[in-house]
């Protein structure tokens, strides 16, 4: 009845061996089934080893020291920047600004570009399915500067309403900021097309790629986006480092974000001259080991091939949706498998998401329950919370089967 995805596109068993945490049990005899990669992915040994090797052999501050270690550390940090640039399709590493995470990247754009380029009454277009990270910074800026915010609605299948978008563009927004992949519905938005439409209407585009870059091959130049933000920790990298990609001329036109060391060219007691891009946005000692970890994560993903990752997850997602549909009283939100990334948020009759997640946890299955930092979309869906299972390159059909077993257990408890 339910055939697991046919040809093994990835050697998942070999890949799983690269992730030490996947070998653990959550309690004696209960292996971990990690279905929460949309919150944060697990980390392969190559990333952990790159970071440890840095601390054991090269640890020094960057960009200033003359000594051997400082030069090696600087080289490793800048090499990571070049590999990230290549990974997302820009030949210019200066277009890669290292931040703390996608959230900080959005706040950086709001604080610098937003504060200097936007005037009272200007319109920013967002969507109903944004993560709080792509809502609250704009709400704060709107309150400060008297901006207007409007939101593209979603339809019953979790797709953005294209006609409503065209209508919003006719109002002359200055910025369209939207997710490339919803963290609740999994919807993959038509980012290239929406970007072209926004540009034709005279707006710039910020793409929240936190959920998409770990899973889909990304070419920022082909997308044409002005700003692209993402976090390392969802793509096999460490926490504490994220990326802002922006076109060089935009970065050059923006004032600095935070003041401090490294972001300056020259300082006197009363004034400073900012450094070149991207350094003028990287005040203070950055997350050096984490940048090196991100570089290793990019190498790891490159070696597998993002097309292969994408194909594996598409097969897993299709299998998961198929199996979820057999559970009576379970409702999955969002579009069909072909239009979504590797996650499924659902509700179950008679069982609250907290109870679902708790019972699954007792079987070793880790899922997320709650509003997933996207309260407005839950209001649109008409549910206070959902349970979300999310997948990655290491997810197996057998793990989906364990999830389904667990959901039957939930039904049994609450029957």
């Amino acid at each position: 009845m339910h055939s697991p995805p046919a040809p093994a596109l990835l050697d998942v068993d070999r890949l799983r061996a690269e992730f030490p945490v996947l070998e653990r049990e959550t309690r004696p005899g209960v292996p971990l089934i990690y279905l929460d990669s949309a919150a944060t992915s697990q980390k392969p040994r190559a990333v952990l080893e790159a970071m440890t090797a840095f601390y054991e052999h090269q640890n020094a501050n960057i960009h200033r020291g003359i000594h051997r270690l400082a030069e090696e550390a600087t080289g490793a940090y800048e090499s990571a920047r070049r590999r990230v640039a290549a990974f997302i399709g820009t030949p210019d590493p200066a277009e890669i600004v290292f931040t703390r995470n996608a959230t900080e990247s959005i706040n950086l754009v709001a604080s610098t570009w937003g504060r200097t380029k936007l005037r009272a009454g200007d319109l920013i277009v967002l969507t109903e399915m944004e993560h709080h990270a792509n809502l609250v910074p704009w709400q704060m800026l709107a309150a400060e500067r008297g901006l207007r915010l409007a939101h593209i609605p979603i339809d019953a299948n979790g797709r953005l309403d294209a006609e409503a978008y065209r209508e919003l563009l006719s109002r002359g927004p200055r910025l369209v900021a939207f997710t490339a992949m919803s963290n609740v519905l999994g919807t993959i938005t038509p980012a290239a097309e929406m970007t072209a439409q926004a540009h034709a209407a005279g707006a710039l585009v910020l793409l929240d790629a936190a959920q998409s870059i770990p899973h889909l091959a990304t070419d920022v130049r082909a997308l044409g986006a002005d700003f692209v933000v993402f976090s390392a920790h969802k793509m096999c990298g460490p926490t504490g480092i994220g990326v802002l990609y922006a076109r060089r001329e935009l970065l050059e036109s923006m004032p600095p974000y935070q003041g401090g060391g490294d972001m300056i060219r020259r300082v006197s007691l009363h004034a400073f001259t900012p450094n070149d891009v991207p350094y003028k946005f990287e005040a203070g000692t950055p997350a050096i080991a984490e940048a090196i970890g991100l570089g290793a994560a990019v190498d790891f993903l490159d070696a597998i091939g993002m097309q292969e990752v994408q194909a594996h997850e598409a097969a897993i997602t299709e299998y998961a949706l198929d199996r979820l549909s057999e559970v009576p009283g379970l409702q999955v939100f969002g579009p069909p498998a072909a239009e979504r990334g590797g996650l499924a948020s659902f509700s179950m009759a008679d069982a609250h998401p907290h109870d679902v997640a708790q019972i699954l946890d007792s079987l070793g299955v880790a899922v997320r329950a709650g509003h997933h930092c996207a309260m407005p979309i839950h209001e649109v869906l008409g549910v206070p919370a959902t349970t979300r299972a999310s997948f990655y390159l290491y997810t197996t059909p057998g793990e989906i089967d364990r999830l389904i077993d667990g959901l039957y257990k939930v039904k049994h408890v609450f029957a």
Binding site: A351, H352, P353, H354, D355, Q358, I359, S362, A369, G370, H371, M375, H378, V383, P384, A385, V413, F414
Partner: protein, 130 residues
């Protein structure tokens, strides 16, 4: 199976004894836990001596939050308001008979927060908890 879902809790969740609203009532209060969407309202009637004569809860949420609300509202009937004010987190955990992690503790304690806010007035409660 975790004893989180032992029979008493599931039974209370599915067959609550004191679910409903009281009209008229002497106190009522409603609050939610925005993190998970648990929402609870509690209505209370008292007699001339400030002794609870009836209590009922309504709302929605997880099994822990709803079972705790049912056990709590049932247990306060016959208590004076002063006795209600003395109730603590440990009383709720004792009624539930389980150990809870920090996230689920919020679910379990929502009804106590709502009850006390109704009896004290929310300002006094915040001062009391501070």
């Amino acid at each position: 199976m975790d004893d989180l879902y032992r029979e008493q809790i599931i039974d209370r969740y599915k067959n609550p004894r004191s679910r409903g609203t009281l009209d008229p009532h002497d106190f009522t209060y409603e609050d939610d836990n925005p993190l998970c969407g648990d929402r609870i309202r509690i209505d209370v009637r008292v007699d001339a001596d400030d002794r609870v004569t009836a209590a009922a809860f309504s709302g929605q949420g997880c099994a822990i939050s709803q079972a705790a609300a049912d056990l709590l509202t049932e247990s306060v009937v016959g208590k004076t308001l002063d006795e209600v004010k003395q109730l603590t987190k440990d009383d709720i955990l004792e009624m539930l008979g389980i150990e809870l992690g920090p996230v689920r503790l919020k679910c379990a304690l929502l009804s106590l927060k709502v009850l006390k806010a109704g009896v004290y007035g929310i300002d006094q409660l915040e001062a009391d908890l501070a």
